[in-house]
């Protein structure tokens, strides 16, 4: 139980680190780890149905919850930042809509190929 939880915390910790200096590639790199973390928690849930909880597991879960709160804040803050940045670029490229909102970004002729 404890090793699954430790692995989940490690993955969340990696995401937290990535979010401190985010790039789409960096965040995407964390996605498989997060899927693994979710699977670990699912396993713990199954184990809890069969055996008594490991002493101190509650405290560890609380710490994981705190980590998740921090990660959530960073995600919200990062997303909010790029929403603001998109508004700024939108108004710079296409002005404003009749309702006063920044227009969507216009990047005519842009082609982005990845892979």
């Amino acid at each position: 139980m404890r090793s699954n939880l430790n692995l989940a915390r490690t993955r969340i910790g990696q995401l937290r680190g990535a979010l401190l200096s985010p790039s789409p590639e960096e965040i995407e790199r964390c996605l498989p780890g997060l899927v693994e973390a979710a699977a670990c928690l699912g396993l713990i849930q199954q184990q809890l149905g069969l055996e008594a909880p490991d002493p101190g597991l509650g405290r560890e879960l609380n710490a994981l919850k705190n980590d998740l709160t921090a990660v959530n804040k960073l995600i919200e803050h990062g997303a909010e930042f790029y929403r603001g940045w998109a508004k700024l670029l939108g108004s710079a490229t296409s002005g404003y809509t009749p309702t006063g909102d920044a227009a969507p970004i216009s990047a005519a002729g842009t082609m982005s190929i990845r892979g």
């Binding site: 985010p22 405290r59 919850k65 930042f81 940045w85």
Partner: protein, 455 residues
């Protein structure tokens, strides 16, 4: 020959331009760690190529283009303000917490327990002089504990006042520096593209944002106008409007250059935290401590007044006294009683232990808002502990968000619009995907926490 000389001229010209480019690159590298410095990018202007008119083409150095973006700067400044506030709160509240150490054997909590235990001992031998003296000694320890705690809070409050003065001085110094830099911009338009001045300006603005919540607007002359709380001017062009700190009725007030009270406009940065602590948080703790001191003294005095002393007389002097007009906790004292004056017996049974027994029952009966004295003190200690833990978590969170904003500033500066538009789409998808997964993990964790008791 004309072709060769044109080519040589071109090559020589281009070498000169690229030489300037190296200077720019060298300057960027030299200033890589200079606070507030933004990379300068050289630009190149093509020269006209009309051989028949003797115009040989080539390249000329254009103006330097700063990679600085004011939106990104503002995002960093906002986080600096939050971090300044959280760090100040965590530091100051951290000084209060040890005063309410619930595990200490010499603190208020244990001295209250000892006091009631001394009455318990007295009830066994109500006329024993040593037991009577123990009651007076234990009472003195309660009074001393409350006084020490009140004095500790008062000391932190005094420190906050002097820190406030220091922070206001720093704000005025930075405002003066910004006004001076604005003066340079206004007197010489070339100064607006000086990377060194630009670095000084943005370093000063970032330092200022740690101290208080500021709004910054760049005007058409290149000058930066700064307001506090978005309302009160601190710097307009080359003019500085100094603020000052006052202390009225033990409450901090911040005044603008005209003497108007702008305290309520300041909520972030170190100054915001100092104001909140001085005007709200510490008075709240002090009120709770005074309630405890007053209720304790009144309850004990009230119970003793119902008994009689060793000689069968009703007490004429209460055990505790405090100054009602001032803080009960800081003024509570034990009056100069002799051991025989402790009213251990009930009025109807002189020489007995009736009143001492009644006194011990005060320890376990609800006295303040449904709590016993030690429970009430424990709740206060827990509240302070939670406040400190909250401030520390806020500090960590603010540090994370500042790091994130600084990284975004580094990454986003100086990119092309097309690159940026494509990147924004990627970010949007990445944040959505990771947000959904974290939501699933968070739900799973909550489910598990419901299944496992948190100890």
């Amino acid at each position: 020959m004309g072709g060769i000389s044109s080519a040589l001229l071109n090559a020589g010209n281009a070498l000169g331009v690229f030489g300037q480019t190296f200077n720019v690159v060298e300057n960027n590298i030299s200033n890589a760690n200079t606070p507030g410095y933004a990379d300068q990018n050289p630009s190149f202007d093509p020269l006209p190529f009309q051989p028949e008119q003797g115009l040989v083409g080539g390249v000329a150095a254009g103006p330097l283009i700063s990679s600085r973006d004011e939106y990104l700067e503002q995002a960093v400044r906002t986080q600096q303000s939050l971090l300044g506030s959280a760090t100040q709160s965590a530091g100051d509240l951290g000084q209060i917490q040890p005063l309410f150490d619930l595990t200490s054997t010499s603190g208020v909590s244990s001295s209250i327990d000892n006091f009631f235990n001394s009455f318990s001992q007295l009830s066994v031998n109500p006329n024993d002089a040593v037991s009577r003296q123990s009651v007076i000694t234990a009472a003195s320890q309660v009074a001393q504990g409350l006084q020490n705690t009140a004095a500790g809070i008062a000391q932190v409050s005094t420190n906050i006042t002097s820190q406030t003065t220091s922070v206001v001085t720093q704000i005025n110094q930075l405002a003066s520096q910004i006004a001076g830099l604005n003066q340079s911009y206004q007197s010489n338009s070339a100064a607006t593209s000086d990377a060194g001045l630009d670095a000084q300006m943005h370093s000063a603005l970032e330092n200022l944002s740690q101290l208080t919540d500021i709004s910054v607007i760049k005007d058409s002359t290149g000058a930066y106008n700064v307001t506090i709380g978005g309302q009160t001017p601190l710097v307009l062009g080359s003019t500085q409007f100094a603020i000052s700190a006052g202390n009225t009725s033990n409450q901090t007030t911040i005044l603008d250059s005209q003497g108007n009270d702008i305290t309520s406009q300041i909520s972030q940065g170190q100054l915001g935290a100092l104001i909140a602590e001085k005007n709200t948080t510490l008075p709240g703790y002090m009120t709770s401590l005074n309630t405890l001191a007053q209720s304790f003294a009144d309850a004990v005095n009230g119970q003793l007044s119902q008994g009689v002393d060793e000689n069968g007389n009703a007490p004429t002097t209460p055990l505790f006294s405090y100054d009602q007009a001032s803080d009960a906790a800081s003024t509570i004292t034990v009056n100069n009683l002799t051991p025989d004056q402790i009213a251990a017996a009930s009025a109807g049974a002189p020489g007995g232990n009736g009143n001492a027994v009644a006194m011990t029952q005060l320890a376990t009966s609800p006295q303040i808002n449904g709590f016993t004295f030690t429970e009430y003190y424990g709740n206060l200690g827990s509240q302070i502990g939670n406040d400190v833990a909250g401030a520390t978590a806020d500090q960590q969170q603010a540090q994370d968000q500042l790091s994130q904003a600084q990284a975004e500033r580094t990454q986003v500066s100086g990119v092309s619009l097309n690159d940026e538009a494509a990147k924004l789409l990627q970010y949007q998808q990445a944040y959505q995907a990771v947000g959904k997964l974290v939501g699933v993990i968070s739900d799973l964790t909550t489910t598990l926490m419901d299944m496992v008791p948190v100890t």
